[in-house]
């Protein structure tokens, strides 16, 4: 532990974190960026919030249909995907950790691992979705439903399923692009990220938020009790 802090101090003494022109001091700068990112995440919470609200409304209204429609979802695949997402969150947290220690090699490795896991997530998601296409469970003119509950209600479930997981997947794709750019800039020692862990921290905050959305989507769609 003490060795680690020494290494940390040595690393800090080596080169100062850059101070941007509009700020007066580093703690002010760092907190500004973190708070700014959190305010952005507040908007993201409200953004997903609208959809979650629609979900709660229709689940409350059509609870039977919700149970029956959800049985066609693949719980093992959904569970695997959530674990993949949680793991990617861990690697992202470690990437921030190594950025703080200014260990560029391990930071890049962790960013790479995060991108890899995110891609695995998307591939699994694509498998799940294509199965739904084959079974005619995609909302629209081709929606087919044979069950006890009325088809429009089941279609509503799948509308929200595709809408919410689709929006989540879009955030994952944006995350892959952002993490990729960050890794590239780090590898090139670009002045925007050199000696500064804040960009990694901010991307990390975004990625953990995507993870949190996944944490809520999983029980809401895959684990509906009778």
């Amino acid at each position: 532990m003490s060795m680690k802090t020494e290494a940390l101090q040595a690393a800090h003494g080596a080169e100062e974190q850059p101070l941007h022109h509009q700020f007066e001091e580093l703690p002010q700068q760092n907190e500004s960026y973190v708070v700014g990112m959190w305010v952005f995440l507040v908007t993201e919470i409200m953004f997903f919030g609208g959809m979650f609200l629609a979900y709660v409304l229709y689940r409350w209204r059509y609870s039977e249909a919700w149970f029956e429609a959800h049985t066609k979802l693949d719980i093992p695949l959904g569970t695997t995907n959530t674990v993949v997402l949680l793991t990617s969150s861990l690697t992202m947290a470690l990437a921030v950790h190594f950025a703080q220690l200014r260990n560029k090699r391990l930071q890049l490795a962790m960013l790479g691992a995060t991108i890899g896991l995110a891609c695995v997530f998307l591939v699994i998601k694509a498998f799940e979705w294509s199965a739904k296409f084959q079974h005619g469970l995609v909302p629209g003119p081709n929606f087919t439903w044979e069950g006890l509950v009325p088809a429009p209600q089941a279609q509503l479930f799948y509308s929200l399923y595709f809408g919410m997981t689709g929006l989540h997947a879009l955030h994952v794709i944006i995350g892959i692009v952002v993490i990729g750019v960050l890794a590239l800039l780090t590898a090139l020692d670009h002045p925007l990220v050199k000696n500064d862990f804040i960009p990694t921290e901010l991307v990390g905050l975004y990625w953990h938020f995507v993870d949190i959305v996944g944490i809520f989507l999983f029980p809401l769609f895959y684990l509906i009790p009778k």
Binding site: H21, Q22, F23, E24, Q28, E31, S32, V35, G36, V39, F40, V42, T43, E44, I45, M46, F47, F48, G49, G50, M51, L53, A54, L57, Y58, P139, G140, P141, P152, Q153, Q155, L156, S159, L160, F162, G163
Partner: protein, 556 residues
């Protein structure tokens, strides 16, 4: 009470050049990170959209001169009033004061060199322009006929117009205002100069902060709502369409969850401007600083609890309607607090009737009318009669035009010398303020009568009630006067850029950090970050009088 005045950081030979002269290429403007230049970019863009919106407005007014309409087909009329609403709300009223006056002044008022995130600020302008272009393209190639509210299921299933492209435009513009909101919030929290405590902030900063909070908490909700409408049109994701399994009233809930607070996004910054101008031209401290500051936050918070009063005649439950009706009355309290405080500030002040102050007087009068007629609409029983009539139209124009645009013009005239270092002719300013006030009232007062008599909004004819024609003609005549009133400032303000006399750093003798630096300010605003040692609005009318008397006596 400390009265150490901030030292004027005058134009010494080594002082940096003004932000206007810090680069002359187009690139130096289009890739600038300077909040002042971005404010100017916004001013230009916002004026262009105001022009387009006004053209749509005049088309509406001309059409309604005759009971059977004058020149527009019925579906063209629908597209025109939709264009008017969308352009004016999303691309003029929402960005006008925060993105122009706020962008320019907020960092200077709190003693900072720039906003916290200059690149994000520039991005917000580009997003705004991109969103605006999407909307204009949609209107140029076919138009939209849903009204600015995009009510489902009409917008999501039936309308064959360019709903998707328009929504994309509004969506992008939403991100632009979110970017501005984030920037303002972090800047107010983290960039204040030493000694600039929360209760030494100018009240315009409080107003901008409260606005930003609303933007950040509300805009994403309307973004997802509009996105769902697009998904419904394109992918048949049926959250709002009964045919696909959804509930259209849910759209109204989600839409108004943002769009009612959005009216406070439009009015709160204007209220902030009023505080600055009113203290300067009455030479008095603001009355009840803390009450005004907290009433801004109260409006921001309560504004989120009243959206249901837009839905009294939707199939919303009656009980929810009653709750929303009561809560809507509550919002009147902080608004009234502000109005009373402004009135008390003018009382016994040594008032100077110059152009910005005339706009402030206009604001107070018109906002009171707009606000009080709002209570008619918040009461369920009268609202059932008045919903979707011209009474509603008149009400929100009194708040939006009489409030926001009056506030915007007051601020623009107040800080114009700070923006460009040039003074405009004050007499022309007073004249146009008077013309706008008269024209405005002539336009919208008849609409209250029309609405009460039962003229529905969004109709392109009224042959069923030709007796309305008198009021419609009065309204159209007023609109013409209003248009002249808006053109005059455009002319003399542009004229002043080249021919106006130099304004000097503080032409009004106003307090506040922005008046301690040269006009126009240098790129980094302050040579040295100031230390704030006094409250805002430390005006002293007696000292002013002494100063004014001294030269006169020495002359004699």
């Amino acid at each position: 009470m400390s009265t150490v005045a901030p030292v004027f950081q005058g134009e010494s030979p080594q002082s940096p050049p003004s932000y206007l002269k810090a680069g002359h290429t187009i690139k130096s403007w289009l890739l600038t990170g300077d909040h002042k230049r971005i404010a100017i970019l916004y001013l230009i863009a916002v004026s262009v959209f105001f022009f387009f919106g006004s053209i749509a407005a005049s088309m509406i007014r001309v059409e309604l001169v005759s009971p059977r309409g004058v020149m527009l087909e019925n579906d063209t009329y629908n597209k025109v009033f939709t264009a008017h609403g969308i352009i004016m709300i999303f691309f003029f009223l929402i960005p006008a004061i925060p993105a122009v006056l706020g962008n320019f002044l907020l960092p200077i008022m709190i003693g900072a060199r720039d906003l916290a995130f200059p690149r994000l600020n520039l991005l917000s302008w580009y997003l705004y322009v991109a969103g605006g272009l999407c909307a204009l393209l949609a209107m140029a190639f076919g138009g939209v006929d849903t009204g600015w509210t995009f009510y489902t299921p009409y917008s999501s299933m039936y309308s064959n117009t360019n709903v998707t492209l328009t929504i994309v435009g509004a969506f992008i513009a939403g991100f632009s205002s979110i970017a501005t909101g984030i920037n303002f919030i972090v800047t107010v929290h983290k960039m204040r100069a030493p000694g600039m405590t929360w209760f030494r902030l100018p009240l315009m900063v409080w107003g901008s902060y409260a606005t930003s909070v609303i933007i950040v908490l509300g805009t994403p909700v309307v973004a997802i709502t509009l996105l769902l409408v697009v998904m419904e049109r394109v992918f048949h994701i049926g959250v709002f369409s009964p045919e696909l399994g959804g509930d259209p009233v849910l759209f109204q809930h989600l839409f108004w969850f943002y769009s009612h607070p959005a009216v406070y996004i439009m009015i709160l910054p204007a209220m902030g401007v009023i505080n600055e101008v009113i203290t300067c031209f009455t030479r008095k401290r603001i009355f009840g600083y803390h009450f005004i500051a907290f009433s801004s936050l109260a409006i921001a918070g309560l504004g989120f609890l009243v959206w249901g009063h837009h839905m009294f005649v939707s199939s919303q439950s009656m009980y929810q309607g009653m709750v929303f009706s009561l809560l809507s009355y509550l919002v009147a309290v902080p608004s009234a607090i502000k109005t009373f405080n402004w009135t008390a500030t003018i009382y016994k002040g040594s008032v100077r009737f110059q152009t910005p102050f005339l706009y402030v007087l206009g604001f107070i009068g018109l906002f009171v009318v707009g606000g009080l007629t709002g209570l008619f609409l918040a009461a369920m029983s009268t609202d059932v009669h008045l919903t979707d009539t011209y009474f509603v139209v008149a009400h929100f124009h009194y708040v939006m035009v009489g409030g926001t645009i009056m506030g915007f013009l007051a601020g623009l005239h107040f800080w114009w010398p700070k923006f460009f270092g040039k003074m405009y002719p004050d007499n022309w300013g007073k004249l146009s303020a008077l013309i706008i006030f008269i024209g405005f009232n002539l336009t919208f007062l008849p609409q209250f009568v029309l609405g009460y008599l039962g003229m529905p909004r969004r109709y392109h004819y009224y042959y069923f009630a030709p007796e309305f024609q008198f009021w419609h003609i009065a309204s159209t005549a007023g609109a013409s006067i209003l248009a002249v009133g808006f053109l005059i400032p455009a002319v003399y303000l542009l004229w002043s850029l080249k021919y106006g006399p130099d304004a000097g750093p503080n032409p009004w003798g106003a307090k506040g950090l922005e008046w301690t630096i040269p006009s126009p300010p240098p790129t980094t605003n302050f040579v040295e970050i100031p230390v704030v040692r006094e409250e805002p609005y430390a005006y002293d009318a007696e000292a002013d009088e002494r100063e004014e008397r001294v030269p006169a006596e020495t002359k004699r």
